[in-house]
Symmetry: C2
Subunit: 299 residues, 2 copies
């Protein structure tokens, strides 16, 4: 989306004027390095579905992408996934060092809130609801909660194995993994969809927000299970990484609990449930199209 | 303040219900481990000075202390100050590991916003102003900006020395150090004072907020310079650390630029300026008392 790339670059430039080039460089390096921009796309489309214009959705779209960027910077740090590459480029800490990367991630969290509070199109009531949703769903009961579960269910970097006195690590079930995926990925997708609704209609019904949440949770879960399937039977060239790298890295995946055919059937079911939610709303073609493409992807 | 300890424990328990005990444990371990609680104290006193009740200030006081806690957890991480001790106890990452400490810090940032958005005493307009101030002053143009400057002015952990291609590290002046101290410490103190004003009076004048900011910047700067003086001629037993540890750790201090007498004179001047601001307001005895005690401390 050309519009979004222009808007996010403009807002970053405004917020980072007068900031030391080392940290503004690290922030821009991470935020303006592409990516699918799925979350902004969802903000805009749910805004439109609720009767709003793209202008109304700009700041929420940017804020949520900044949160996504901060989570990727922190995820890549040596104490987390220890990943020196991100989207085919050196990751933030590989270029700027761990300390600057840590602070760049921290800074993005507060920039996201500033982008919302500084917006002139939104009412105070909209701002408060948007900030509440973003923080709730990116926080300890959402995305961060999912990252914690991912760590304590995995083999590598498991705090139960690293730290004495924590006791035995938990033994997750397939349901626990689904819950972890919904928190880790579905929660921020849900923030995107719900904030889009609020941007589009200040008085949007709670029922619509609940529908947006159901859609996003199904999408997020199907997205993560699709990732697990691609890690087993995808195309290495399209994926840009060797097959089996998740299980080699000690990550617990959904396929520990069921056959690949059962995982595909689960994705199909989730995808139908997600689309069923959309079909209750007008002007849904774009969203249905995004949903199908995401779950039918090869990388 | 007994009241504050009760309020922050209650709010944390509410926000952390249903959260995995590993991460809620890490959060509570860090937040409920004491400290001077200076920032909450300032929120309450500025609220009172502007005509409000303590009830009105509870959530802003908690939010700002959560931000302070997150910054301490991240500051102590191995890639930052690499400090295994905090207030005489093992620091968060020393107990829970780096990854959990990183996520606990991240979680505190969003919890701070949630505490404000969930408050039933504040209007939407107050919430937006409070969130804007906290994020602006704890972010890249405030506290985090100060931490970046601290790093690039110091000897150890300086990204200019660690990362190739960044060029020569800057050579700071005494004015640069003052600016860094104001950002690193004054900014969050300013958030505390300004948010206190907004909690106390929804329609507080911009001039009052500017006064609160001037007071806090003077206090923060004097506080940091006092730290530098104590590091040279304090009492090791009261400080709980050996004299000279800052310069031994490659930290740049104010005393690189002037004599200890000149530093004391600068503190005296800043303290008088801070108190002069307070004297324009009624019911200022408590605040004047706090200010004098802080700058006359032995540890």
């Amino acid at each position: 989306m050309e519009r979004f790339e222009r808007v996010i670059a403009e807002k970053l430039n405004q917020e980072l004027a007068d900031v030391h080039p080392l940290i503004s460089g690290a922030v821009k390096y991470s935020v303006l390095s592409g990516g699918k921009r799925l979350r902004p796309h969802l903000v805009y489309e749910f805004c439109r579905m609720c009767g709003g214009r793209f202008d109304d959705a700009d700041s929420a779209a940017v804020a949520i992408e900044l949160i996504q960027s901060y989570s990727l910077i922190h995820d890549d740090l040596p104490c987390m996934d220890d990943d020196d590459m991100r989207r085919g480029k050196a990751s933030c800490h590989a270029v700027y060092g761990e300390a600057v990367a840590l602070l760049a991630g921290d800074a993005l969290g507060s920039l996201a809130a500033s982008v919302i509070t500084n917006d002139k199109n939104l009412s105070d009531a909209q701002k408060v609801r948007i900030i509440a949703i973003i923080n709730n769903l990116s926080g300890i009961r959402g995305m961060i909660g999912g990252q914690v579960l991912d760590m304590i269910y995995g083999e590598s970097n498991n705090p139960y194995r690293l730290i004495k006195g924590l006791g035995e690590p938990p033994c997750p079930t397939a349901g626990d993994i689904e819950r972890m995926y919904i928190l880790k990925t579905g929660a921020l997708l849900s923030a995107a969809c719900q904030c889009g609704c609020i941007c589009g209609d200040e008085n949007v019904a709670e029922e619509t927000l609940a529908d947006a949440n159901t859609y996003a949770e199904n999408l997020g879960l199907a997205y993560q299970i699709t990732d697990d399937i691609l890690d087993v039977e995808g195309d290495e060239n399209l994926l840009g990484k060797p097959l089996g790298s998740d299980s080699d890295n000690g990550k617990l995946t959904y396929l520990r609990f069921c056959s690949i055919d059962a995982a595909k059937a689960r994705c199909e079911q989730l995808s139908l449930e997600a689309i069923a939610v959309l079909q209750r709303y007008p002007d849904n073609e774009q969203l249905i199209d995004i949903t199908k493409k995401l779950l039918d992807r090869q990388k």
